[in-house]
Amino acid sequence: MAQPSKPTKPKILTICLALALTIVGIASFPILGKTPSPKSGTAGNRAGPAADQRIDPDAIAILNKMGGYLRSLKAFQIHSVTRREDVLDDGEKIEYDGVVDLLARQPDRLRIEVDNDRQHRLYLYDGKTFTLWAERVNYYATVAAPPTIGQLSDELYSKFGIDVPLGDLFLWGTPRSKVDEITAATDIGPSPVEETTCEQYAFRQAGLDWQIWIQQGDFPLPRKFVITTLTDDARPQYSAVLTWSLAPSFDEAAFTFDPPKGAQKIVFAGVRSSPSNER
């Protein structure tokens, strides 16, 4: 009943070893083995005099122009389709998709609804208080808030570890943006997003590679971005495609929280500088 034709493991191992030795032999002859030659100006070459040459000043300029334009908008509404990757312990990546609906009246009203495979969250800011509501478990927490969206975003991040969805939109065009930390900036060329002609740019900064598609013409809006995290070998990505409305209709009630039936009030856990519950 045995299968004599099937090679046993020791046999396979022997064949493998022989092949491995052959490959090593060939690779040691540079003419025969195509060993990749190190390219100049690839990743890792961040510091040094070469760094500045990798920054296209026009790309930085358009980023600043976009920031200035964002800051000039009185109110806007965005529907965004997002994809985010997690990395499991063994390096396998898992993508989860979602949507973000954002309504902002600058400088002090914000409503964001996030719905993805993991979470449904409503962020509400009325200039005085901030509320986060988790719909599926019907929990909400409320805290006193600073007077602008930018300050709110800073505070939520530093106090509670909450990164406001699409929060970059409120940081570009302010001194808090990290445009000055960019180490490489490249204009990739025209690329349409949702049938709108955009210009695609690629940037590098510490721990991140990111790309942005900025609408061409008089309305330099970010229409898409892709952020690649470099601090994990698996390089998980986040991407968002943004559909804009610059003349949204809304009323004040859009920014205030009216607890639904059965909603339970909970608290925000503070960010700990070091894990306090290692037991």
Binding site: K9, L13, C16, L19, A20, I23, I26, A27, L32, R84, D86, V87, L88, D89, D90, I94, V114, R118, Q119, L132, A134, R136, V137, Y139, A141, Y157, F160, G161, I162, D163, G167, D168, L171, W172, R176, F203, G207, L208, W210, F225, I227, T228, T229, T231, D232, A234, P236, Y238, Q264, K265, I266, V267, F268, A269, V271, R272, P275, N277, E278, R279
Partner: protein, 176 residues
């Protein structure tokens, strides 16, 4: 030719590995319950991955405490324990973001593995005050004290909270 050899070598390796490769479920189980990292979502913030990591790490570590409690609660099942129990578990999954259930904690995808884990850790008893879990044990009831919500699960009290945007439960002393 070099290329051909490489391919043959890879094929060799693959055939060697197939026999010993663990199933996906095993791999997941061994890998722990939560992702090791998550893609950053903004370019103008510090490294927000750090926040995620801390949270996940703690949750993971304390998950055993939760399981211990589970066992205790199971005894209570006689006590009328509601269908709500399950809701709570799911609550952790949806609300918890990386809830233990999704990747390997096992509320939904690997019920057998979860049961085994519960049995294996049934020795210890009380949950440690200050420890954080992603999901509640079964048989909890909601109690509001001074307008803040608690979950009483047997003799253990949990306070639901937002850790970042995820809902977690921190073990607290009984509120007055």
């Amino acid at each position: 030719m070099n290329r051909l050899l490489r391919h043959m070598f890879l094929a060799c390796l693959a055939s060697l590995l197939i026999g010993a490769q663990p199933s996906l479920a095993q791999r997941r189980g061994a890998g722990g319950g939560v992702p090791r990292s998550s893609a950053q979502t903004s370019v103008n913030r510090g490294n927000n991955a750090n926040f995620n990591r801390n949270t996940n790490f703690n949750n993971n570590r304390n998950a055993n405490v939760n399981r211990n409690v589970n066992v205790n609660q199971n005894v209570n099942v006689n006590r009328n324990v509601n269908v709500n129990r399950d809701v709570n578990v799911h609550g952790g999954y949806y609300g918890g973001g990386y809830g233990g259930g999704y990747y390997g904690g096992g509320c939904c995808y690997h019920p057998v593995a979860t049961a085994a884990a519960v049995t294996a850790t049934a020795v210890a008893t009380a949950a440690v005050v200050g420890s954080v879990v992603n999901t509640l044990p079964p048989a909890c009831s909601v109690v509001a004290v001074n307008g803040i919500t608690y979950q009483q699960c047997g003799s253990t009290w949990y306070q639901p909270q937002f850790s970042g945007t995820s809902t977690t439960y921190v073990v607290v002393n009984a509120p007055n």
